[in-house]
């Protein structure tokens, strides 16, 4: 009899670390820098080992499609979660999970990557609300990506 391990889509998995996972693959292919699963904000467990003390990337869904160098420039060495501040439901859960990153997982930094479209600012707003609700403060950086893949802004927001 096998043990039921839950839905494969949301089962926690940790892959190779960034040190073990070079950018260049065979024949010049770019290797993925994703080091964990799951990544969707509703599915992630903020207490998962790969968030402990990590530099975390909270990315709007569209960013990885727009930003050509997403894996090399931003994902490498970081733990990830993705969300859509415009379409996702139940976003109060997100605020609570971000707060848990700050207070329980004791993450090192949070980088929020959003698109230039106005509704994407909602994701940064969620991070700020979580930071205000958290006793432990963490540096938060935000990066705004243009629809043609340019980085329009990269700034430390607050702590």
């Amino acid at each position: 009899m096998t043990t039921f391990e839950g839905c494969p889509g949301s089962r926690t998995m940790q892959f190779k670390t960034s040190e073990e996972n070079p950018m260049e693959g065979p024949a010049g292919k770019i290797r993925s820098q994703l080091a964990q699963w799951p990544i969707q904000m509703h599915l992630i467990n903020p207490a998962a080992p790969y968030y402990q003390g990590a530099d975390v990337l909270l990315t709007a869904d569209c960013v990885a499609y727009a930003l050509g160098d997403f894996h090399r420039e931003y994902l490498k060495g970081k733990s990830l979660a993705i969300a859509c501040p415009k379409l996702d439901e139940g976003q109060s859960v997100y605020t609570e999970k971000i707060r848990a990153w700050f207070e329980d997982a004791k993450i090192n930094t949070l980088t929020v990557l959003i698109m230039e479209v106005p509704c994407c600012m909602g994701l940064l707003q969620l991070a700020r609300q979580a930071a205000e609700a958290s006793k432990r403060k963490v540096p938060i950086k935000y990066v705004v990506v243009g629809v043609q893949g340019d980085v329009l802004k990269e700034e430390w927001a607050a702590a």
């Binding site: 530099d55 060495g77 970081k78 993450i107 090192n108 930094t109 980088t111 403060k137 963490v138 540096p139 950086k141 980085v151 802004k153 990269e154 700034e155 430390w156 607050a158 702590a159």
Partner: protein, 266 residues
């Protein structure tokens, strides 16, 4: 001209005083620096000028040090830092240091009036002087400079000229504090006034160098991981130092109010 790239800036300015004016035109204020051991090539690269500005600056310096000669500007080595700084604001740990500078600047701005009002006779006058010296020893040095020396600077090559300059400024500030304490103990008003004035000049220039040059340069070198580490380590120092910045803010506020009152003639 290439030989000058590896010379200390003070030496170059002493030999060719117009170089100071040229550097000033590019907001590179090496002239008043007390140490001046930074090499010309490092000064030019650390200020992250545009390629055009850097070329123009080097041509003007070349013309100043070797007048009459016509030659292209010396080639600088490839920049070690990324060209346009992506991060426009200070990172949170460096912002914290800049915020601490604000209180120190408020204090040193009051030093001329403080010196005019020095009273070594009354208990109240001596208490005010002791509070002023304590602001320098505890807040500016133990609380602020210690974060730089024991934590921040360790993330960089401490043999770099710019960090040597910062360390020397701190050492000089400490010797001035010792002079203040000795002068107070000996009721030596003249030495006390001179030491306070020298401290004011030293710190004003030191803070300007850090806010405008050193910290932006450091922010461009630090990784996100290092920024998070620094932030956590600074927070730990604040918690464990036993120093309450509010105490010193209160001291500065009271002095500001006292001198404001005097200016208003009330």
């Amino acid at each position: 001209m290439d030989a000058y790239l590896n010379k200390g800036i003070k030496e170059i300015i002493t030999e060719f005083p117009e170089v100071e004016t040229i550097l000033n035109d590019y907001d590179i204020g090496c002239g008043p620096c007390n140490v001046g051991i930074c090499l010309l090539k490092d000064i030019v690269s650390i200020h992250q000028l545009s390629v055009e500005q850097e070329k123009e600056l080097m041509e003007r310096i070349a013309a100043a040090v070797e007048p009459g000669k016509s030659h292209p500007a010396p080639k600088m080595q490839k920049r070690a830092t990324p060209p346009p700084p992506k991060t426009r604001r200070y990172s949170p740990p460096l912002k914290k240091l800049v915020d601490e500078h604000v209180l120190i600047k408020r204090w040193i701005a009051l030093i001329p009036e403080f010196v005019d009002a020095l009273d070594l006779e009354s208990e109240q006058g001596k208490k005010r002087i002791l509070d002023g010296i304590d602001m320098i020893r505890s807040f500016a040095d133990k609380y602020h400079h210690a974060k730089e020396e024991e934590i921040l600077f360790k993330y960089f090559d401490e043999t770099a000229d710019i960090l040597k300059v910062m360390h020397e400024d701190h050492t000089r500030a400490r010797s001035l504090v010792k002079a203040m304490q000795k002068a107070l103990a000996e009721n030596d008003k003249k030495t006390l006034s001179e030491s306070l004035t020298a401290y004011r000049e030293l710190l004003a220039e030191h803070i300007r160098k850090e806010d405008e040059i050193l910290y932006p340069w450091m922010d461009n070198q630090l990784t996100d991981r290092q920024v998070g580490e620094l932030f956590a380590r600074f927070a730990r120092v604040d918690q464990e130092s036993g120093i309450a910045p509010e105490t010193y803010e209160g001291f500065v506020r009271r002095l500001e109010a006292a001198f404001q009152k005097k200016e208003n003639g009330s």
